[in-house]
Subunit: 148 residues, 2 copies
Amino acid sequence: MPKPRPKTGDAKRAQARGVKLPATVARRAPAELKYVPWNKVELEELNPLLQRQLVVGQDIMVARVLLKKGCVVPEHSHPNEQLTYILEGALKFWVDGREIVVRSGETLAIPRNMPHKAEALEDTVDLDVFHPPRADWINKTDQYLRKR
Amino acid sequence: MPKPRPKTGDAKRAQARGVKLPATVARRAPAELKYVPWNKVELEELNPLLQRQLVVGQDIMVARVLLKKGCVVPEHSHPNEQLTYILEGALKFWVDGREIVVRSGETLAIPRNMPHKAEALEDTVDLDVFHPPRADWINKTDQYLRKR
């Protein structure tokens, strides 16, 4: 049986009660209009081959992920649904027993809790959409990305 | 008081009980890995100035929206959170009492139920992310887009 995932509203209610949240649940952002040029968003350098920018809504997070050729994202999983859209370059994924190369103009939808690994076959600009927003990326507790 | 929005799991449970769903709630897709090149996705022509492609996950939908210069999206609102990322061109939005031009490389996060109108100032490629997926786009009941 899969573990029931936390609902996005749970974080706010739990915090209001002073309950410590599991590390995978992000505090829900306020519902507000946000106009954000990407060039005003912090470009976070996770390791010499990997940079990232985040725009976080209430229940959606969009990340621009910049991977240099040869960058490896080690196998990991998360309770967040993921939809990857490759804007430039190509990523090879190992997921669900398959090897899939996702190229510019292609998408990959990865269900929650499905382990996956990726490697950049070229310098790549990857747009990753998550629901709910990823607490580990927001809180910078994503150690699996910060090693080489 | 804002009307409580339907939760995404509600659709499946309601359908299992034979309950007729409101038109804004999409049937939840199965949790499956999907590898989708955009050039294999149906390009739907909504009107002579507006085309659209959809990739639908469980709780996330991503749409590539192609707008010709002068295309107007009339004011509307929806219970789905929206995050717009302009890949090419420029859209002018009327939203929350403001006029905001969102250009290539910029994003706009629109909270659920916030009315908005848009006009393409140039030929535009717009990536729209929604949570939950938009039933009116999936079911083709989005008449507001099908008129000129």
